[in-house]
Symmetry: C2
Subunit: 367 residues, 2 copies
């Protein structure tokens, strides 16, 4: 399938650490409940999974934030837990609650039964990628994504969200052999899943290691980072159209481990709001292992009035400092984003203020 040529490549250029006229931006969970039009579509779909598995609805909601704001990338509307769902764990979203698995994985037999799922069970995702890419018509690039092997394991063992990760860590510390087996299956499944998204038209892919930051030093490297690396090692480097596909890794709460993450074979590191961007830029450094940095304003800034939002945007841009401007080579680049998903309570007009502030201030910063 041929797709329209890309009209705004600012995000992709920044991923490849190439100079850009302004700092590109997109927002984690930008298609979501803070938008009344999203709430309306979800009501039509009946449930979260009804929305995610319907190609037309998934396409509609993915494009909704782009109709309101001049964002520099779109991200596939889906959930990080589609892969364990395809493994047969039975994903559901109760009203007003988070995700829940009917069959959590808590013993040797359950771990032994895990296998990389048939990607045909996830065809609805790849169909959505193709449909969204078509609907975007080259306006901005489309990002595909998956949860990290460790983050999937958290939900697979706990069976739902957790405040203490007691069950998954009990397995990690008590039966590390089982945990390693589960993570190996997850990593191979995530790699196959992201490769199929790339084949379907994803122009960048992101691994959400949402719960890497709950691990102890040492355990993070062994049980999260190593399996993210196993995913990255299997990823296709080029999309169906022959274009190279940059890879983003975001470990929430992973700021202490940037020196370890620098060694990952990816182009972009996502950062949460606890990290000082200027310090991160120094710690990650340049050269062969240089990475673009993505992040990291606190989503709660969006509850402040527009003037304060603009002030906080200024602090984040200043913290990163001047991106490099030499078009003849690569150098430090910044992709603006939140440090975590946008809150459902965010006033939509405050997002407009954020986007405007990032674009205008980052142009001024380069002048």
């Amino acid at each position: 399938m041929a797709f329209a040529p890309l009209k705004n490549d600012t995000f992709l250029r920044a991923c490849w650490r190439q100079a850009t006229d302004y700092t590109p931006l997109w927002l984690m969970r930008q298609a979501g409940r803070y938008l009344p039009e999203y709430v309306a579509t979800r009501a039509k779909a009946g449930s979260f999974m009804g929305l995610a598995t319907n190609v037309d609805y998934a396409t509609e909601v993915t494009l909704q934030p782009l109709a309101r704001y001049p964002l520099d990338a779109a991200i596939l509307f889906s959930d990080i837990l589609t892969v364990p769902d395809a493994m047969g764990l039975g994903l559901s979203f109760e009203a007003g609650e988070g995700p829940r698995f009917a069959s959590p994985v808590r013993d040797e037999a359950a771990v032994g039964a895990l296998a990389v799922p048939d990607m045909d069970k996830l065809r609805y995702v790849f169909d959505a990628v193709r449909s969204i890419r078509q609907a975007l018509d080259g306006r901005v690039p489309l990002i595909g994504f998956s949860g990290s092997p460790w983050t999937l394991a958290c939900y697979m063992v706990e069976g739902a969200g957790s405040s203490d990760y007691r069950l998954v860590k009990s397995m990690l510390y008590g039966r590390p052999d089982l945990m390693h087996r589960m993570l190996a299956v997850n990593a191979d499944a995530v790699a196959a899943y992201l490769n199929a998204q790339i084949d379907a038209g994803a122009q960048a892919v992101m691994v959400f290691d949402s719960w890497g930051g709950v691990l102890a030093d040492g355990a993070f490297q062994e049980f999260s980072l190593a399996y993210t690396a196993r995913v990255l090692g299997q990823l296709k480097r080029n999309g169906a159209d022959g274009q190279p596909v940059p890879r983003i890794v975001f470990t929430k709460g992973g700021g202490l481990w940037l020196e370890d993450m620098r060694a990952l074979d990816c182009e972009v590191l996502g950062l949460d709001w606890t990290v000082n961007l200027g310090q991160a830029r120094q710690r990650v450094g340049e050269g062969a292992q240089g990475k673009a940095l993505q992040g990291n304003i606190d989503p709660n800034v969006l509850f402040a009035p527009p003037q304060q939002i603009a002030d906080e945007v200024g602090k984040v841009l200043a913290s990163f400092g001047k991106p490099h401007a030499d078009v003849s080579k690569t150098g430090p680049t910044h992709i603006f984003n939140l440090g975590h998903g946008i809150s459902q309570y965010t006033p939509p007009e405050h997002v407009a203020a954020l986007v405007e502030a990032v674009h205008s201030q980052s142009r001024a910063l380069r002048a």
Copy 2:
């Protein structure tokens, strides 16, 4: 009031960065629900606050873990929210839920009405300190504590625990003037509260900045660290018996800010399990601003079998490395602890395995 001389000063020596024969240890929330004898006392008391406000019960539960394990310090049984309760916010603990305030502080009028409470309203705490100190009979030192100004503010604004800190951060970003006013009152109240604990017999004091780690870089320094410093600046240096009182500051999730925390006027920094102790030792350094380090095993390690617990203890001790051994001067010292409070589901016999492993392995490490 005269207290018995101290028989085990290992914890206090380590606080002052003096050489010790082994690595002292205590556990955050060591008097708690994982102990059946605690559950029995709490049932007699009827409620959490019934337990905390009754001097005999508070003394009883504080000493319970010492009857089981050769811990090197006791910590006052109380709650971090006693101070805002004394401010009139109406603290309660619903069955199966966390703390809740009847009158959260969410607007200018409510912030304006805040004041340092009459310490007489907290007399039950100081009476408990005296009673516990008496009951300890010099066996180990007694640690007093308070929540940090920022952590208190989180609960005061949210009115309960929170997963996103939306309300308190909305005030922080939208009305920083109100937040600063609340934090100033909190800091002065916490200082008065800790000083009264010191007067009553606390031999060390700890500030729990449990929610400092949810703040963005920049906001942490302005809204948490600065007010912890304001507390420390007002603290008495010596107890009623003339002995110097070391001060511990623990910011959960604060590992990225050790270079900032190094400047605090305190003796010990608490660390959670995400921090590499060896790297922290390098980053905090020695000299005038040197600090003892306290922490940091993942409490979930206690769900593994005893042999794995011992292995994980070994990793934590090795991560810190050899403490200094020269009794003629100060140097790097480590106080073993969990990286967060112990889980209510912990098997008590696993705690015994942890304590034994820390004491025996840390003696061997020095040999």
